[in-house]
Amino acid sequence: MQQIIIRAEQVEKYYAQPSENRIQVISPTDLSISEGEIVALLGPSGSGKSTLLRMLTGLSTPSAGQVYWHEKPVSEAQVNVAIVFQSFALFPWLTVVENVEAPLKARGMEPAERRKRALKMLDTVGLDGFQAAYPKELSGGMRQRVGFARALVVEPEVLFMDEPFSALDVLTAENLRSELLELWQNKTIPTRSIFIVTHNIEEAVLLADRIIVLGRNPGHVRTDFKVALAHPRERKAAAFTQLVDYIYKVLTQPEAKPPALPLTPEGKPVRDQRQMHYQMLPHARPGGIAGLLEILLDHNGKDDIYRLADDLAFEIDDLLPIVDAAQLLGFLKVTEGDAAITPTGAEYANSEILRQKELFRIAAVENVLLLRQIVRAIEAKSDKTVPEEFFHDMLDEQFSEDETLRQLETAINWGRYAELFDFDASRRRFIRSEKDESESTVGPKVQA
C-alpha cells in the first residue's frame, strides 16, 4: 500500500448568496494523492478542476472539509509542492536563471549555492546556455521549460501542473510530455508524485497512472480508475483508443445518479442550481451547431464522438458544448458515446438559410426556458422592449456573475440568429425583432 501524501476529505467550494441559495462550485469530494503515481484530473470547463487543484495545494481554502498533508492539516503543515502554470507565470523582468533561483532565494539559500542548483536544473530541462536570456526572448516551449525548472529546483514532493501544455503548439507539447515522462521514469527528479489537470483526454491517457474524471454542475468526481497500460504508450494501439473512447462515453453520458445534495446546518437540503429552473445553456454558436450537423450527415447521420473530435482536431472543451447545444435543441441524440442525428436535425442540416433559422426558432422556443421567457416578456410590454438587467437578476440567483454574463451572451446570440428578438447593445435592452409579417409562415406559439 503506497503512502498517501495529500488527502482531501469532503472538501467543498461554494459561494453563499444573500438569499438562501448557494452557488456550489464543487460538491463534497474525497480525493487522495499517493506516492509514486501520476494522477490526471480530467473534466470539461466549469467542472472546477483548477479550483480543486488550488485547494489541494493549499493556495485556496475549501469552504468546507479539510485537506491533509501527510495527515496534518494543510494550513499548519510545511507543504512542499510546486506548480507549473498554463501561462508559465514567469517574471518578465528577471532573467531565466533569476526566475529559477527565486524560490531558492525565498528559502534563504546562499547565492553561490542557488546559482549552482539553478544552472544544474536548467541543464536538466535542456536550457543550458539560456540563463542570461529574458523570458520575452524565448519561445513558448522554452518558457514552459523554465517553468518546469523553477518548479523542480525546490525538489517538491508533489508536482502540480495546471494545463501545462495547452498554451503550446502540438509538436512542442508532445516533445515536453515525453521529456517529462523520461525525467519521471529515470527518477532524475526527486518528486514522488505528479498531479496534472488537463482537458485533453489523450494527454491524460498518455501520461497518467490514475485518471479522475470530473463532472460539473456542481463539480464532482464521476469516476476514478487506474490505467494499467505499459509505457511507452502508443496512440494508435487498441487498448489506448478503447480507453479514450470509454472516457468520452463517461463525459457525454447524462448523469445516471446525481450526486447527493449537501445539507444546511438545520438539516434541510441546500437549494442549488440543479433545482432551479434555468438549464445551463451550452456556449455554442448556431453556426457551429449547423456545421456539426452537416458533418454528421456526411458521416451517414451517426458517428463516434471521439472520432469526430479526432477528425476535426477538436478538444473536448471545443466539441462538447456544440454537441450539448445540438442535443438540447433536439437536433441530435447521444447514446453510449455516439452522436446520432435526429430527423429534425437532418431537416435542419439540409435546409437553406431562412428555413434553418425557422427550425432553429421553433426548437429554441420549445426547449430553452430563458428564450421563451424573453419573448413572452417582450410581447407583454406595451413598448415591446425589456431591459437586460431584468433577466440578469434572475440568472444571478442561480449562476455566478461570470456565468450569468456568458449565459446572457449566448441567449442573445441565439435569439438574434433565430430572429426571436433583437438586442440594443447601447441601451442594453431586448427589443422585438422587425420581422416582415409575410415571411413568417410558422410563428412559434409561445406556451406558458
Binding site: Q78, I83, A106, R143
Partner: protein, 596 residues
C-alpha cells in the same frame, strides 16, 4: 512631457476603468461624506495652528535680479521639487499598498483618493503655509516645508492610484507563483509588485513632477496679506522681474526654466523610460524602444557594478536569509492553536478594532463639527458673493476649455495624421508645454495690461496656458491610434469633410479627448485661484470669481469664507466629475473603444 512609447496608453486605460469599477461597488455618497468629514477635521486642525501664531511678525525677503543669482535660485527650486517627489513616491507606495491589501478600508481610501485629486491644491496654500510656519522655529525652514508639503499634495494622489491599480491587476498566476514558492512579503514587493507597477509609476511620476513645477512657482510667489512667504527660487525671480519690468531678467529666467526642463528630460526621464522597458508585461519584443546613452553608460560601467556587488547585494542577501530563517523558526515553534484560544484572540482583535474606530470617529466628528461652526460666522451677503463667484469661474473654466479645444483638436488631429508634421511640431509643443504656466503668468499679465486688457480675460488666458497641452497631447495620441484601415475606408468612399469628422475622427479620438478634457478641467479650476486674484507691483488685481474669493479670504484672514469657498469649489469639481466625466468615460470604454 516627452515622447511616450505605446506601452503607456494601456496603463492609462486600465486606471480609469479600475477607478470607476471600484467606486461602482461602494456607496459613493456615504464614502464621500466620510471623506468630507475627515477633510473638515484636517482643516480645523490647520486653522487652529494658524490662528495661534497669526500675530507672529516675519522679516522681508529680498530677491536679487542679477543673472548671477539665477543658478542659486534654480538650485533651490530643483531641490524642493525632488524632495517633494521623493516624499510623494514613498507615501504613494505605502498608501497604494495599504489600500490594495486591506479590503476593510479599501473603498474608503480609494474614494478619498478620488476626492483629494479633485480638490484644487492651491486653496490649501494659505492654511498649509501658516501651519508650517507655526510648526518650525526658524521661519525659513517652515516656509520651505510648507512649499514642499503643498507640492506633495499635488503629486501624490495620481501615483498612489497608479500603484493601487497596478497591484489590483497583477495576473492571478503570478501571484499564485509567488505564494506557492513561499515569497516573503518583502521579496514579493521587490520582485513582483514594484516591477509590475513600474511603468505606471514612471509615467505618473513624469506627470507629477511637471505638475509640481506649476505648484512650486505659485508657492514661491506667495504673499499673504501683509506677510511675505516668498522663497528664493525661480518663481519669485520671474515674478520680481515681471513686477519691475526687467526684460533681460525675464529672458534669463525663462531660458533657465526651459534649460532645466530639457535637462531633466534628457538626463532623468529618458534613461528611466528606457530602463522601464524591462518591466513591460507583454511578452513580445517591440521595435519602438527608447534609447538612452546615459542608461547604457550606467548599465555598463564597471565601477558601478563593483560598487553594487560590494554594497547593495550583500545587504539584500542577508535580508532574504534573515527573513527565511524567521519563517522557519516561526513554523517550527508554532503550536497549533485550539479553537478556543483562536476564538479568544479573534474576540480581542475585534474589540480593539472597535475601540480604535470609535476613537477615530469621535475625533473626526469633534473637529469636523467645530470646523462647521466656523461657517456660522458667514454672512448671507458673503454667501451670495461666493455663489456669484462660483458661477463666474464655472463659465470661465468652460470658456477656457472650449477655446483650448477649438485650436488643439484640429492641430492635434493634423499632427497625429501626418508623421512628418509631427516630427517638427511635437518637440516644439513639448518645450512649450513644459514651461509652467504659473511662471509665465506675471509676464503674460504685464503684457496684457500694457495693451489694455484686464484680469477677466487674463484669467481665461492663464487657464488655457496651463491646460491646453493636456488636450493637445491626448488628441495627438488619439489621432495616431485611429487604425489606418479606417482612414483608408474614409478616403476610398470619398467622405466629405463633415462626414470624416463626424463618423471617423471625433468618435475615434473620443476616449483620449475625454481624458485630456478631464485633466484640463481640473487644472483650470486649480489655476483659477491664482488667475483671478493677483498681486502685481504692490497692487492687487482681481475679478469676480471663486478663485478670487478664496485668495481674498486668505489674504484678509477670513477663514470662514475660505472654508466655505473651498467646500463649494471642491463640491463643484467632484459633482462635475460624477455627473459629466464618469458617464463619458463609461461611454468611451464601451461604445467608442477601437478593437475588442
Amino acid at each position: 512631457m516627452i515622447q511616450l512609447p505605446d506601452s503607456f496608453s494601456y496603463v492609462r486605460g486600465r486606471e480609469t476603468l479600475a477607478r470607476s469599477q471600484v467606486l461602482k461597488r461602494s456607496w459613493p455618497f456615504v464614502l464621500d461624506l466620510c471623506v468630507a468629514g475627515i477633510g473638515l477635521a484636517c482643516f480645523y486642525a490647520v486653522v487652529q495652528l494658524a490662528r495661534y501664531w497669526f500675530g507672529h511678525p516675519l522679516p522681508e525677503i529680498t530677491i536679487s535680479l542679477s543673472p548671477r543669482a539665477i543658478p542659486r535660485y534654480a538650485f533651490y527650486s530643483i531641490v524642493r521639487i525632488w524632495l517633494a517627489y521623493a516624499l510623494s513616491l514613498f507615501f504613494a507606495i505605502v498608501y497604494g499598498y495599504t489600500a490594495a491589501y486591506n479590503p476593510r478600508i479599501e473603498a474608503l481610501m480609494i474614494a478619498g483618493l478620488d476626492i483629494l485629486q479633485s480638490i484644487p491644491v492651491l486653496s490649501f496654500l494659505p492654511g498649509v503655509m501658516l501651519a508650517m510656519v507655526a510648526l518650525f522655529p526658524t521661519r525659513q525652514l517652515g516656509v520651505e516645508m510648507g512649499a514642499i508639503l503643498l507640492i506633495f499634495t499635488g503629486q501624490v494622489w495620481n501615483m498612489a492610484f497608479s500603484f493601487y491599480s497596478s497591484l489590483k491587476s497583477i495576473p492571478r498566476e503570478l501571484r499564485e507563483a509567488a505564494t506557492i514558492y513561499r515569497f516573503s512579503p518583502w521579496q514579493r514587493l521587490i520582485e513582483l509588485e514594484l516591477p509590475y507597477s513600474a511603468i505606471g509609476l514612471v509615467w505618473n511620476s513624469i506627470v507629477s513632477v511637471a505638475g509640481g513645477w506649476f505648484f512650486l512657482m505659485a508657492c514661491e510667489m506667495f504673499v499673504l496679506g501683509p506677510r511675505d512667504f516668498r522663497l528664493p527660487g525661480l518663481g519669485s525671480y520671474l515674478q520680481t522681474a515681471a513686477s519691475t519690468g526687467n526684460g533681460t531678467a525675464i529672458t534669463w529666467g525663462l531660458i533657465t526654466m526651459i534649460a532645466i526642463i530639457v535637462a531633466t528630460d534628457q538626463l532623468v526621464w529618458r534613461p528611466v523610460i528606457a530602463w522601464s522597458d524591462k518591466f513591460k508585461f507583454e511578452q513580445v519584443e517591440t521595435s519602438s524602444r527608447v534609447h538612452s546613452p546615459l542608461l547604457h553608460l550606467f548599465q555598463h560601467s564597471r565601477a558601478l557594478r563593483t560598487l553594487r556587488q560590494h554594497t547593495i547585494q550583500p545587504i539584500a542577501e542577508s535580508v532574504y536569509q534573515r527573513l527565511a530563517d524567521n519563517r522557519r523558526r516561526i513554523a517550527a515553534a508554532a503550536t497549533p492553536m485550539d479553537s478556543e484560544t483562536r476564538a479568544r484572540h479573534e474576540r480581542w482583535n475585534a474589540i480593539l478594532r472597535l475601540v480604535v474606530l470609535l476613537l477615530v470617529v469621535a475625533g473626526v466628528l469633534y473637529a469636523a463639527l467645530h470646523a462647521l461652526s466656523l461657517l456660522r460666522a458667514v454672512r448671507s451677503s458673503e454667501v451670495i458673493e461666493i455663489l456669484k463667484g462660483a458661477l463666474a469661474t464655472f463659465l470661465r473654466v468652460n470658456t477656457a476649455l472650449l477655446l483650448a479645444s477649438a485650436w488643439t483638436i484640429p492641430a492635434g488631429v493634423a499632427i497625429g495624421f501626418h508623421p512628418r508634421l509631427a516630427r517638427i511640431a511635437q518637440p516644439l509643443a513639448q518645450i512649450a508645454a513644459s514651461v509652467p504656466a504659473t511662471a509665465l503668468f506675471p509676464v503674460v499679465l504685464l503684457a496684457l495690461i500694457r495693451i489694455g486688457g484686464g484680469l477677466g480675460t487674463g484669467s481665461i488666458l492663464l487657464m488655457m496656458l496651463g491646460t491646453q497641452w493636456y488636450i493637445l497631447f491626448n488628441v495627438i495620441a488619439g489621432a495616431m491610434a485611429i487604425p489606418t484601415d479606417l482612414r483608408e475606408v474614409a478616403t476610398l468612399f470619398q467622405f466629405t469633410a463633415v462626414q470624416r469628422w463626424k463618423t471617423l475622427i471625433l468618435p475615434g479620438i473620443f476616449p483620449y479627448l475625454i481624458t485630456g478634457l478631464v485633466t484640463a478641467s481640473g487644472g483650470a479650476w486649480n489655476a483659477s485661484i491664482i488667475a483671478e486674484y493677483f498681486r502685481l507691483k504692490n497692487q492687487t488685481l482681481q475679478t469676480v470669481g471663486l478663485g478670487a474669493v478664496i485668495s481674498a479670504a486668505s489674504d484678509s484672514g477670513k477663514f470662514q469664507i475660505l472654508l466655505l469657498a473651498t467646500i463649494v469649489m471642491a463640491g463643484m469639481v467632484v459633482t462635475i466629475n460624477r455627473l459629466l466625466w464618469r458617464p463619458l468615460y463609461r461611454l468611451a470604454e464601451t461604445r467608442y473603444k477601437v478593437g475588442a
